[in-house]
Symmetry: C2
Subunit: 351 residues, 2 copies
């Protein structure tokens, strides 16, 4: 087991249900410094775990474990943290509570505070659904989040993104083998069909025009659809997928008691120094949406990843994208380093 | 019955099978002039009939039936022309031949020649899959097609477009009620799920961001998904849809004995004066693809419809789009009129 588990006894979620023995799986990289000022929070994406985040972590990279204490909490529903597939009766499978991004963030906050005594976060960074978590963090805890880097994500799920998710969800639940979630074995046909539908959404028109699936080692388009896309979804639990989709569809940083649905106020509340990085060809979270969100924030810059990888922009598949993101994160963190140097200077002077 | 039926006895299609008593449903508007020089061919789109084409036909419009003889042939597989749902055994339902755009065009050519003695076509115009038919016409019969106007379409189906279609196809055939095509009643769940998936593809991100489904009279996003999208597919026959999808997925103006797969040669063979009109936000046939195709043609102009209607650009939903297309078609036809005037002048001079 390469991770830790945080299990608060009772965690009441927004829907009013209680996650008893909630399970938040996380992994840390690096060492927490004495004044707890070197914390980077780096949540996970839809269908991923902490392992899938590691491509941006490494010595010499922005997320450098020799300098920072990097905490990677796993998304609720991902099969490691509390999920339909690992929760005991009566809240197992189809009865798993509908969880929001807000629920995820509050549980993460509890972890940081109760386990590590962390109050201040130097940077919250995340890709895709993790970018959504990052936005929520910065809006809910503006005094504690110093830097923010949402990559290929949004503060609120757009209607079009919702419709795309509604489509892939419907594909899966239309398979009668899903049995309303009470299956004994995974609904094979539904999972495979979901993968085939997802294939068109995730990568860009240009990716397909250039036949880049061949560069990835697949022998044909059909080979890519089966050997990559069907296989990805066959590895996942149907109810877990549906739980994460619900969370994604309902992501909205203003849907809570602080902002009461006032999306502009929520984005306006963010004070963190921010670089927002959408992918140029992303059909989930197009740059135009990011530009609107940047316009509603006080200290944010839009930096579009010039990628043809569609939604995969900023992900591990493209070395150029990784370099682009890493450079931006270094820039963002360097202002943080300066601040820390000044703090050190002040402390030295006052001694 | 508001249409005509052309039924050649035996029509051998590209796959080698014979459509016995092939059925090509068509409707004409206007009167064929004496020298048969006023012909506009205007095929139908995926899932549509001649009725769905009528929004561009009218006195004072470019497609003016008081000036032109407009022939609208229905796409094979659309339920009116030969289709799985209306073909007798043994080629009914799942045994319906896989038909290409090339097959459609050859049958249309036969209709024009045998029934009307038409050789020359002033304009071939079509939207979406009908644009694909238009490209085929201009490449296969360059000496006979004088003008070409493909709207929201392509000369060859792109890999990304193929993948999107593969997704919606898979949704439908995953419903066990489809029964390999031998259903007694339509596969309801599969058709509905297909509609829900299709919803995300057809309209643009901006369309959804601006909640334009409300302007269309739907009371919510879910209302739009059910009352429009599920309803559209519930009205169609599953095997007919699959037949048209097969045709669409395999559209390639060079896939024939003339060009033998040489896509560039096929586009290069087109001599018609052409205006290609992709929609700015179309995810099926993005403007960038159209620009590539225009670059391979000798007499073509790219004119992007500044529409937020996604693939529906140039369709009847937007008055601005209709006006944009109509203006372009008038411009295209006016050069034709000039030519006809010159012809008249020559004839007058030689008398």
């Amino acid at each position: 087991m390469d991770y830790q588990v945080y299990e608060p006894e009772d965690f009441v979620v927004r829907s009013g249900l209680t996650l008893r023995n909630a399970r938040l799986v996380y992994k840390t990289y690096g060492v927490l410094n004495e004044d707890k000022s070197n914390v980077i929070l780096y949540p996970t994406r839809f269908g991923g775990t902490h392992v899938d985040n590691e491509y941006l972590i490494g010595e010499g990279m922005a997320l450098d474990p020799t300098k920072y204490f990097i905490v990677v909490p796993n998304l609720l529903g991902n099969g490691l943290s509390s999920s339909p597939s690992n929760t005991s009766i009566p809240f197992d499978r189809s009865r798993f509570p509908q969880l929001t991004v807000h629920d995820n963030v509050l549980l993460q906050e509890k972890l940081l505070r109760e386990v590590f005594g962390i109050e201040e976060i130097a940077l919250v960074v995340g890709w895709s659904m993790a970018a959504q978590q990052a936005y929520h963090w910065a809006a809910l805890f503006p005094d504690r989040v110093k830097r923010l880097a949402p990559i290929a994500g949004s503060a609120r799920t757009s209607p079009h993104n919702y419709v795309f998710l509604e489509g892939v969800k419907t594909v899966l639940i239309t398979d009668p083998e899903w049995r309303g979630g009470w299956y004994d074995k995974q609904p094979q046909a539904g999972l495979r069909a979901m993968g085939r539908v997802w294939a068109g959404w995730a990568l860009s028109h240009e990716f397909y025009r250039k036949h880049m699936y061949l560069d990835l080692g697949y022998s044909s388009l059909e080979d890519y659809l089966v050997a990559y896309w069907e296989a990805v979804y066959l590895k996942r639990d149907a109810n877990d997928i549906l739980a994460m989709i619900w969370t994604w569809q309902h992501a909205d940083l203003s849907d809570n008691d602080i902002f009461n649905g006032d999306y502009e106020a929520a984005l306006g509340a963010i004070t963190a120094k921010t670089i927002v990085m959408p992918g140029r060809t992303d059909m989930y979270f197009p740059p135009k949406d990011s530009a609107i969100e940047v316009g509603l924030m006080s200290n944010a810059e839009l930096r579009v990843i010039p990628s043809i990888w569609g939604h995969y922009a900023g992900g591990p598949a493209s070395a150029d994208d990784v370099s682009f993101v890493d450079t931006a994160l270094k820039e963002l963190l360097s202002s943080n380093d300066l601040m820390m140097e000044r703090l050190d200077y002040c402390r030295a002077s006052s001694n």
